[in-house]
Symmetry: C3
């Protein structure tokens, strides 16, 4: 599709929005797989899901490189080049954190995966869907920044919810898991999902920076 | 006060400086409460102080949103809009880290709170006071950047002092606390204060970026 | 040398590239010392190497301050002032992380230093050499960004390799080290090197931002 005639005539401006949307959708699919991964009933099932998550993460890398290359050959961009690049770079970090979480589940083989991991993965998915919506509004940003500002606020709220889930998970863990090594493993695994929501909040902050710049 | 007649006639330029100053003072008050919280003699006292710290953190959120809104309706700003927004966003992170520390004390109920926590909270307070002074110089920045550069250097020094305190706390902890879960808890709690000084140093870096831009 | 007649006539543009190159070389030397430090056969040897590493880190601080001062007195800079300042600031973070790692080895006195620490230090050294090459291309960036883009990609690859080494180190540690306090110590020590490669990747991202801006 990338080299179709349609694509060649597409205005540059739209290209970037389409690529950012594609990336947001990949992150959304990746986090849906992550939810499944936290519910895997066998280690093999978790490993198989990790492989699929890895694929989505690589997709994001490819899209991010494509955005970078397009930025270098385009004369006209909807926003300053560096803002588009920064945005895609931090979106890629969300994908990286999710991938890291799944990788650690595969590598550390924890004795069990707590319910909170599923909740956190769901919050990452919510954040990814919110990024998808926000990115979908980017071309209307200069006309009406109200909706997109709300999505940014939602990303901040999700990050706070994820903090809560993560902290309550830690209390439970400290109270009930007496094996300190297991504590370290699970803390590390879930921390990656908490960091994914931090990064999603940063995506919101970058979008707010773009709003402020073009207001 | 926000809607007073006086306020309505205040030049836009001053508004941002006033809001940033208000925010810096909230962080300073928040970290003063944090010092008390590390000295709390009962868990209930720590919980009560956490509630007051949370209030200060919410104040910062409100001010940050107000800055964002003002940026979007102001034609003239003293610096580029995105610099003011970035500065307030990272100042908000300092407030978040302090709040996280107090929250973790409340949630984890560690067996004791080490003296180093008080020292770190004091350094965060010093950093917050230094940010207050630096922000107070922002309107003179273009005329005389010497003083404000010194404050930025001071924020870097405070961060190094905090690193030292945190590392020496860890040595003590590794030597004397045999309960690994307790080690993880205290490490996590004090780490938030160390991160608060990192963020305060980043505030200094952003101010240096502004100096460099307008030099 | 700084005040030589030669220096006074050197075009401003070259000065910044020279200072950034000096800084990259200091980081490279610092990480070469770090490799040795991970192989130290006695604690005293590690402490002596830490002192040399600290010197290199201080060199970077001095250069970074010099860049900042030069930016404030130069009318013409090869790129926007804030980009040069940002770049040097994150390069300084790489130096800080390496220094932190050595400091923690000195302070925590772990029972042994794993082979993976040497591998990670080697990757930091590779990254520092790559930054040296990339910085050396900065003055040709506008004519030919292909080579420098490859160095940025290499920094990303190194970060992924470091992730792998760090994660496999953790698996080994979880399986073989039954003393949880020792697990926490070693995890903390090696984490600083992993973070150094993260920062080196961020250096690559900033350079890519500069490429995008001036493409």
């Amino acid at each position: 599709m990338k080299n179709s005639i349609f694509d060649r005539f597409l205005p540059k401006e739209n290209k970037f929005f389409l690529l950012l949307s594609e990336m947001a959708e990949s992150i959304s699919l990746e986090s849906a797989l992550m939810i499944e991964c936290t519910k895997a009933s066998t280690h093999q099932e978790a490993v198989d899901l990790y492989k699929k998550i890895k694929e989505k993460e690589l997709e994001c890398d490819v899209i991010q490189n494509k955005i970078f290359e397009e930025l270098n050959i385009s004369f006209i961009t909807p926003f300053d080049r560096e803002d588009i690049n920064h945005l895609s770079s931090i979106m890629d970090n969300v994908a990286d954190n999710v991938n890291s979480c799944a990788k650690r589940i595969m590598l550390y083989s924890p004795k069990y995966i707590p319910e909170s991991a599923t909740q956190l993965a769901q919050l990452v998915k919510d954040a990814a869907d919110c990024i998808t919506l926000a990115v979908g509004e980017l071309d209307r940003l200069k006309k009406n920044p109200v909706k997109i500002t709300e999505y940014c606020q939602r990303l901040k709220d999700i990050e706070h919810e994820a903090d809560d889930v993560y902290e309550h998970f830690l209390i439970d863990l400290f109270e009930n898991e007496k094996d300190a090594i297991e504590v370290i493993k699970l803390k590390d695994i879930l921390h990656e999902l908490e960091k994914a929501t931090d990064m999603a909040e940063t995506v919101g902050k970058i979008i707010k920076q773009i709003i402020v710049k073009y207001a």
